[in-house]
């Protein structure tokens, strides 16, 4: 009876992207791969495409409007400006994946930064203790928020809105009604302000590319060994080469002299914060895509009931997402404090949270849950940082900047909603 099963090779097989094993014609395999990718995009699986397109378009626009945008100094500046938002956005991605929201992440980062500052200055303790305390605070905040949402069943919107207000108050109390604490610790200041030596940058680059290449190639070989559907080798190599080119170019540029007065003070090398972002990106990507916990995060966000029935400890996964979010908010707070070399009650306030949520959504995380990557936070954060940086260079007022950033966020949410719509149209019959 099995021969009766020929029905329905559905017209949609949008994800049939990869070449058949042992495809005889390598060029054909590559073409098929590209075609499959395009089919995916058409069916709503846009992935990182909007964010990358946005980055390219914005760079061209600002570069033409203000040539200084393309200066090496500004490139290094961009990383520093965007780092805190990217950190918070990385954490928010986890909460967005399970279909929740954390509105308190901004002020949580402020509270953690304030605690770090107080420990450093008022108590005069060392930086590892101060940063450790900030991270522990973030973890406790996450546990509390998660428990309230998961165990008591209060919607995360309400819980974190309340926390948004409360943390603002806590920051004020910690900072004694609004004093500004200056940070003098050299190590903490180096987080956002320091640069690597030139050779350190190149060494890290070599390790990164070698590591990425090894992972990619060994995965490709393993899949061939198991006779599974695999990508053409050319695509794997192209991907490694593209990453190598992009990163080498970046390291090369950042290793150039970017000081206005090199005789007085020389300013070269990859900013330390770039390395921190790279490490965080690698760790969280690994957890999200290569561990059981990450898989369960997506499952909980995609269909909580299915996850329950599959034996996933849904409560624990959901609480963990909030812990990661607040923990990354703490990291963002430390980075922000380091960059400003001070903490005040507005650290993590004003538009930090909205920019972070915007970054995650612009990068491709979905407010509807079930979708999002750490890469989304990175790319979306880049878009947000470029907009702010570029418009700042153009001398536009804060009002215009808010307006444009809001419009971009709306556009990203629109793309998110539209891609869901397309997915529904092209998907189920």
């Amino acid at each position: 009876m099995s021969e009766n099963l020929e029905t329905l090779h559905d017209a949609s097989e949008p994800a049939d992207a990869t070449a058949a094993p042992g495809a005889p014609d390598p060029m054909g395999a590559v073409v098929a791969h590209v075609r499959g990718y395009l089919a995916n995009v058409r069916s709503g699986e846009v992935g990182a495409l909007p964010a990358v397109a946005g980055i390219v378009a914005l760079c061209l626009f600002f570069g033409m409007a203000k040539p200084v945008f393309f200066s090496v100094g500004n490139l290094a500046n961009l990383f520093g400006q965007g780092a805190a938002v990217v950190c918070i956005a990385m954490g928010l991605v986890f909460v967005l994946i399970i279909g929740e929201i954390d509105l308190s992440a901004g002020f949580a980062s402020g509270v953690c930064a304030a605690i770090m500052a107080v420990i450093l200055t008022d108590l005069g303790l060392s930086w590892p203790l101060a940063i450790g305390a900030a991270l522990v605070t973030g973890t406790i905040i996450g546990l509390t928020l998660g428990a309230l949402v998961v165990k008591l069943g209060i919607p995360s919107f309400v819980v974190t809105l309340a926390a948004f207000l409360a943390f603002q108050g806590i920051a004020l109390i910690i900072l004694k009604e609004g004093t500004n604490i200056t940070i003098h610790d050299a190590t903490v200041k180096a987080i956002a302000g320091g640069n690597l030596e030139r050779w350190q940058g190149w060494t890290l680059l070599a390790i990164t590319i070698a590591g990425y290449g090894a992972v990619q190639v060994s995965r490709w070989r393993r899949r061939i060994g198991r006779a599974l559907v695999h990508e053409p080798l050319a695509v794997v190599v192209a991907r490694i080469a593209a990453l190598a080119a992009l990163l080498s170019g970046t390291v090369f540029l950042l290793n150039l002299e970017r000081s206005a007065n090199p005789q007085i003070i020389s300013l070269t090398g990859v900013p330390v914060v770039v390395v921190i972002l790279g490490v965080l990106f690698t760790i969280w990507s690994f957890i999200l895509h290569r561990t059981r916990f990450g898989r369960h995060l997506y499952a909980v966000g995609g269909n909580r009931e299915a996850a329950v029935r599959a034996g996933v400890n849904v409560d624990r996964v959901r609480i963990a997402a909030f812990v990661i979010c607040s923990g990354m908010a703490a990291v963002g707070g430390v980075v922000a404090a380091s960059r400003a070399a001070s903490v005040d009650p507005n650290t993590g306030g004003s538009n930090v949270l909205l920019l972070s949520v915007g970054a995650a959504v612009i990068g491709g995380a979905s407010l509807f849950g079930g979708k999002g990557t750490v890469r989304a936070a990175l790319l979306g954060g880049a878009v947000v940082a470029i907009i702010n940086n570029g418009m700042g260079l153009m001398g536009l007022s804060a009002g215009v900047r808010f307006g444009v950033t809001g419009a971009v966020l709306l556009l990203a949410a629109g793309v998110d909603a539209a891609s869901r719509g397309r997915g529904a149209i092209f998907g189920r019959h």
């Binding site: 009876m1 099995s2 009766n4 099963l5 020929e6 029905t7 329905l8 090779h9 559905d10 949609s12 097989e13 949008p14 994800a15 049939d16 992207a17 990869t18 069916s43 699986e45 995965r219 393993r222 899949r223 198991r226 599974l228 559907v229 290569r290 561990t291 059981r292 898989r295 369960h296 997506y298 499952a299 966000g301 995609g302 269909n303 009931e305 299915a306 996850a307 029935r309 599959a310 034996g311 996933v312 079930g370 979708k371 997915g423 529904a424 092209f426 998907g427 189920r428 019959h429």
Partner: protein, 254 residues
């Protein structure tokens, strides 16, 4: 007998939903469970699945009385349930769905390749030809393909009894036929299948035996070959058909 229910009763407060239900299913056979809405089909399934604790009677697996107090107990006994609403994650691909909650790992890293291989072998053993790319998201599948994935998920774990709750309710003609063939194939491979359906054509197409529930009581368990559709309809609607079915008054329970 692989599964043997004896005198199973279930009460929700004052309402007796199942009363003294007897049912046995052997390996290699498809037993259809029919009954009107509210007859207790879903409750019966949930009792076997360990979601509801039973108030009376016993459930025996391979002759041994078992206390099934949760889905994990049921799974450990080789009982898998395919629910009506499928319980698939749209945002995960087929392999990820098949192994959800029971992912294979090497150290702490997911072993996606071996999972994909095993998934391919399982679908192969079920002679599923309708799914080519195991790495497509379930959202992009048709109803029949989704049902196939849900059933494959149930048989992936050396299960012995697969319970299917209305698997063809939302499917078109061709897809229904596919799923019915798949059900038949499960039994041919030596699994016991409990198949719940409203559609008597489908029931007669695939079932070896037919168990009719009527208001929480087992009206009759019949060989499909010796039964007509009209008899089953009568059993479903009034609990009796000629000499078959419940002997006491029309559905009134004490």
């Amino acid at each position: 007998m692989l599964l043997e229910l004896t005198g199973v009763s279930k009460r929700f407060g004052p309402v007796e939903v199942l009363s003294e239900v007897d049912l046995s299913i052997d390996a290699g056979e498809v037993c259809a469970l029919v009954g009107d809405n509210g007859a207790g089909k879903s409750t019966l399934v949930k009792c076997v699945a360990g979601i509801h604790a039973i108030d009376g009677g016993s459930i025996a697996v391979e002759g041994e009385v078992r206390d099934i107090s949760g889905p994990r107990d049921a799974a450990a006994l080789g009982i898998e349930i395919v629910y009506q609403d499928l319980a698939l994650c749209d945002n995960l691909d087929i392999v990820e769905n098949l192994f959800l909650g029971r992912e294979r790992r090497r150290g702490i890293v997911l072993d996606d390749d071996s999972m994909e291989q095993l998934a391919a072998e399982t679908l192969d053993s079920l002679a599923v030809r309708t799914i080519r790319n195991l790495r497509q998201n379930v959202a992009s599948l048709s109803g029949g393909q989704r049902q196939t994935v849900a059933i494959a998920k149930a048989v992936l774990w050396n299960s012995r009894l697969v319970i299917l709750d209305e698997p063809t309710a939302a499917l078109g003609v061709a897809q229904t036929r596919q799923v019915l063939e798949l059900i038949r194939r499960l039994a041919d491979q030596g699994l016991a299948v409990l198949y719940i359906s409203h559609n008597l054509n489908d029931v007669f197409a695939v079932a070896d035996r037919i168990a009719a529930l009527y208001l929480g009581r087992m009206a009759a368990v019949l060989d499909a070959a010796d039964t007509t559709q009209s008899q089953v309809v009568e059993l479903i609607t009034s609990g009796r058909s000629g000499s078959l079915g419940l002997t006491d008054t029309n559905g009134a329970r004490t």
